[in-house]
């Protein structure tokens, strides 16, 4: 069970610290979601400027991770939270790690996009553009809902995010088959093909991070530890 986050503590400073912690984590989530979609757009359009945007914002993501983690640490030291509040503080620390890794995956895709913009052959990316686009939409959607679930302490929404990960895995497998066929037909672009596989794998990993965030939200909201458990139920999106 979880106390309604809108219901205040007797100590208002504690309320303020918890609210700030949640808002800053959600804010970091917003930036990271934009990193994913911008990086994939940069790749699909071979757009150097967009890729550079992602790379320069990566420092901001890292700084946010440090700041939110410090806030969670101080909240534990100064307010000695228990029960739902303690779960929030510890889970937020884990969530920032997941978000930072999503930022790292976006950075790698952006670096690949930079190389594409500087004249690398576009065949492999073109061949799986539809998959890249779709996987970017899926991962962004999963991340958006995971962060919204955190903001609203909504474990049902978080459960749905967990269930959607398998769809992403299926897309990744299909894209991989497509690339393998291409590589067997034309081996001249093997280097770019491998980079494209890494980009697809990066998106698949981002889905895992979204799922991990959703698991932490379930933990905050209900105290249930969902790690290493199979998601049940139907994906609604």
């Amino acid at each position: 069970m979880h106390s309604d986050p809108m219901e205040g503590h007797t100590a208002k400073a504690f309320d303020g610290a918890l609210t700030q912690l949640r808002l800053h984590t959600v804010g970091m989530g917003g930036l990271v979601i934009d990193q994913v979609s911008t990086a994939v757009r940069a790749l699909l359009d071979a757009d150097a400027a967009l890729a550079q945007t992602v790379l320069s914002r990566e420092l901001q993501v890292n700084e946010m991770e440090r700041a939110v983690d410090r806030e969670a640490f101080e909240l534990i030291a100064l307010h000695q939270p228990v029960a739902g509040d303690l779960r929030m503080a510890t889970a937020v620390s884990r969530i920032t790690v997941e978000l930072e890794r999503v930022g790292d995956e976006s950075k790698k895709i952006a670096r690949f996009a930079s190389r594409m913009a500087s004249g690398e052959p576009q065949g492999p990316v073109r061949a799986v553009a539809r998959y890249l686009q779709h996987m970017a939409e899926l991962t962004s959607g999963m991340l958006r809902d995971a962060v919204r679930a955190l903001d609203e302490s909504d474990s049902d929404l978080a459960d749905q995010v967990r269930a959607r990960d398998s769809e992403l895995d299926a897309e990744f497998a299909a894209a991989l088959r497509q690339l393998l066929t291409l590589a067997m037909q034309d081996q001249r672009n093997l280097g770019v093909t491998i980079d494209t596989v890494f980009a697809l794998k990066g998106l698949e990993r981002i889905g895992d991070h979204a799922k991990n965030i959703a698991e932490q939200v379930v933990f905050i909201a209900s105290g249930r530890d969902m790690r290493h458990k199979k998601a049940v139920g139907r994906a609604s999106a």
Partner: protein, 293 residues
């Protein structure tokens, strides 16, 4: 440790205090975490349907709690919830007040003595159940005499045995090294923390089966508090401890089991680790997280 399948909700929210028969100290099972795992505890005292009245006022309402043997059970709840009233039932302190009444039972094991039974002598109960109060209350006597007092009451006269028992109790309360050279000094010359440990030694000297603590550190500084908490942790090897505290962190630190009470009722009883990480009831969560009132 035994495991048994029990109804999780029923076990957690209303512990089965009808003990399994046939053993000296009966056992009950309570569910732990969100799995079907249960933990079995040995019951030193089974509180069953206990109600207590001050005149017409019903201060405790049908409490049912197993008090685990040689474990620390903490009672928490807002002021006026009845936790001190509950504690005082165990050594019949209420009998000193007129117009009070018990219903239900507190069965002390292994000899099935109902502590609040009408035919049970409160003096006999107090011989077996020790108590330490909020403010240290040593007798205006020497350190030695404070600890020896209860032993003398029980008829112990032999000087050598008395000295031996006094030393044992003072060692048990982690005070011996600090007072061994001043046993004949007045107890009132000790520091607050030392006086409280002396009171614990006084209670320990008569080898009680249960030791009751009523906010034992609320008048002490943080270092003296830490010493008492450490002492309570070590005492669980020899005695069953029941502690009332307003300090939530203290309950979390020292207790194995925690009971949350509100308006004379038991709201939730569980392992302390469960109560302080994921309580089952919203009222418990609100209280321990400071959202209460």
């Amino acid at each position: 440790m035994e495991t048994a399948v029990a109804n999780e909700d029923a076990a957690r929210n209303a512990p089965n205090s009808t003990p399994q028969s046939g053993s000296a100290t009966p056992r009950v099972s309570i569910a732990v975490d969100d799995t079907r795992k249960v933990r079995t505890l040995n019951v030193k005292a089974a509180v069953d349907n206990l109600s207590f009245y001050y005149g017409q006022h019903r201060a405790l309402k049908n409490l049912t709690i197993p008090i685990a043997e040689r474990q620390v059970t903490a009672l928490i709840g807002p002021s006026g919830c009845g936790k001190s009233t509950f504690l005082r039932c165990f050594n019949r302190m209420h009998d000193l007040q007129p117009d009070t009444r018990y219903e239900g039972s507190i069965t002390l094991h292994p000899d099935n003595l109902n502590l609040v039974g009408a035919g049970v002598d409160p003096i006999e109960v107090r011989m077996r159940i020790g108590m330490v109060f909020q403010k240290p209350n040593p007798f205006p006597k020497s350190v030695f005499e404070n600890v020896a007092y209860g032993l003398r009451l029980r008829g112990l006269r032999n000087r050598a045995t008395l000295a031996e028992e006094v030393e044992k109790a003072l060692r048990g309360s982690a005070l011996w090294d600090e007072v061994k050279d001043r046993l004949q000094d007045s107890a009132l010359a000790l520091s607050g923390g030392q006086m409280q440990r002396l009171c614990i030694a006084r209670a320990l000297a008569t080898t009680p089966e249960i030791l009751l603590f009523d906010e034992p550190t609320s008048a002490l500084d943080p270092i003296a508090t830490a010493k008492i908490e450490e002492l309570i942790s070590t005492l669980r090897d020899q005695v069953t401890v029941l502690i009332v505290t307003h300090n939530m962190q203290q309950a979390a630190r020292v207790s194995d089991y925690t009971a949350f009470m509100y308006l004379g009722e038991l709201i939730e009883f569980d392992e302390a680790a469960k109560i302080f990480t994921n309580p089952a009831k919203k009222a418990t969560e609100d209280y321990i997280t400071g959202r209460y009132g």
